[in-house]
Amino acid sequence: MEKTAKDWRFRLLFALALFFIVASIAAPVSLLPEIIPSPDLIYCLAICWLIRRPRYVLSFTVISATLLCELLILNSPGLWSAIMLLLCEYFRLNSERISRLPFWLEWGVAAFFFAIAQLSYHVILNIIFLPAAPLRAIVLHSAMTALCYPMVVLVTTFVFRVTKPSLKEVILFHTKANERKI
């Protein structure tokens, strides 16, 4: 009972964080002086939380945020959200495996999947003759996102206090599950 309440608290926190990310994307403040693609903070946050605590990340929340973002910018909405949903599902299924990796490998996996997703997204846009970003912009966007990932992890760990399950927790979880079975 207490456990689900905690889950929902963190789910709400996650939704709020995404909301503020979307709002700050839209805010008429140019943080970057030139046309440098801004990092995809929604992706960073979603993946970071999915690797640590997949229970706290509702795919519905992530998709709402990306759809809103797509509506705000001039994208034809749907495609990027679908790709994000696929990514979320992949990281959710492999969450345990990835969370066992050292941080630099986790970082590499996150950056790699983002670059691949971006590339395939723009290839699809190109195929159906929609305006797509030039390769340079895709590379910069992916690089910026990769650079921001550690910062998001820091904020997640020290501000939101969302960390990987410790060994103690894992053992506790399994013993409880066993107790339930018996």
Binding site: S24, V29, L74, P131
Partner: protein, 296 residues
Amino acid sequence: MDGRSETFSEQQKLIVQVRRIFFGLAIFGLVSLFIVWQVQNERMERVRATIIGSIMPVIEWGGKPLTYAADVGTFIGTHLSLAERIEELQKETAQLTVWRERARILEQENARLRDILNTSKNVTSFVVSAQVIADTNSQFRFSALLDVGSENGISDGWAVMDGNALAGRISGVARKTARVVLLIDPSSQVPVKIVGQNSRGITIGDGTGQPQLKFASAASLIPGNRVVTSGDGGVFPPDILIGNLVIGQDQIPRVRLQADVLKLDYVTLRQPDEREAPPAADGGIVSTSIQGPKEP
């Protein structure tokens, strides 16, 4: 014990099944949304404008902390250079007083000459001022949201100007918001002419800060030449300044925009057709922004 563990795993199996179904439905829904958007583009763009118009207040509220922080930053920055600014402004004021006198004289002269010619007064085009409420740039689409909409008589195709230079075109109007597609957006194509060269072309945004100039005769491509709207196609009024011609290292002619499209704040909107003014036109000039300059 056996029975219990079986139900437990069966329940889990069911959850996995349901999850899978929802996942499939979601993917299907999102992809079909994308396809419908391509097929029914115009209608869906109207839907987009309506949705954005209705959720914008909430999003604006969410962006407040960031805008506030940025305001504090600029505030401190301005105060640090206050003395210089005052001196600059005093100089500017002195120059402007001279210009004002000259403008008055010209205005009188103009009126007198019109009187002599017995022409009817020129219909000035309807102008609205607006404030940017959201930057909606991605790595390849560039637009912004304004705080005016169909309530203020705005419709698609209006020219958006930063000072005296063109910044973009209105595309997507809700009741209280309108979207301006900036000149650097890939979908932005503006018929232009090069001043003094009798050469026409089209500027096409390509996601860099400077749109490309295409279809202009090679002889007229002298860097520094002024580029203005030609008015062809009737979307923009003619002779609005766009910027200066530059030729980059890749030998592609580009236009260095006069308007600072990435840092728009207050803009003015001009009606495409100068003949008819919307019913809201009262005296020709409406100031809609709250903190915007008031007409005397």
